[in-house]
Symmetry: C2
């Protein structure tokens, strides 16, 4: 297990949302051909499919405000990260979101193996 | 990767919250000595430490209402699960929560390797 899991996870979260909010096409380098994303229940696999989804999201301005970041080590040296925060898009009111990542290392770089995103919207 | 990841994750979630809400001491069998839980930012390790925390939570009645469950396979045959839902305790108003699990199989039983829980409470 990676003893640096907490700082790796928190640095990643900081980098990820800054890049997402500034120019989300820059996130392409964080995904690999076998990366998986589940975005609002839709399953995507590969950096190409994930980026196609992210860049097509229909807003111009976006800001992620992180509320909490919790990290745990995985058995294979990776890092499990759960984020709770608020998403502000264009001039809409903020929405809560929850996002979970599994980060792995290919020997020289960290990449996203798993990514699950949900707006926190309850029907009751 | 386990091709049954989606049904395994969803059956687990159904079982877990039913057991939690009926008699949470029954959850002990789902954790192992090396299981990790991060509960509202507090890190716990071992079934014993986790159960001590869960049974000491200061409410009599509890109900988890699940809004969404998203599952992905892990590289070692396990299942990554992200849950968004609402927690109703005693006569308090419901609170949103987010919980992420990593489930592993010891050859005959599924157990929780990772568990991260947060109430969804934003300061802004």
């Amino acid at each position: 297990m990676n003893p640096q899991f907490d700082s790796i996870g928190k640095q990643f979260v900081d980098f990820y949302y800054k890049a997402f909010d500034a120019n989300r096409s820059e996130l392409a380098g964080l995904y690999r051909p076998h990366s998986m994303m589940t975005f609002e229940g839709v399953q995507l696999q590969s950096a190409e499919a994930i980026m196609q989804k992210l860049v097509s999201l229909p807003f111009q301005k976006v800001q992620h405000v992180v509320t909490t970041v919790d990290c745990q080590p995985t058995t294979d040296g990776g890092v499990l990260v759960m984020v709770v925060g608020q998403l502000k898009t264009d001039d809409d009111p903020p929405h809560g979101f929850s996002q979970t990542f599994v980060l792995n290392n290919d020997g020289s770089n960290w990449f996203i193996f798993s990514d699950l995103f949900r707006l926190v919207v309850h029907s009751v």
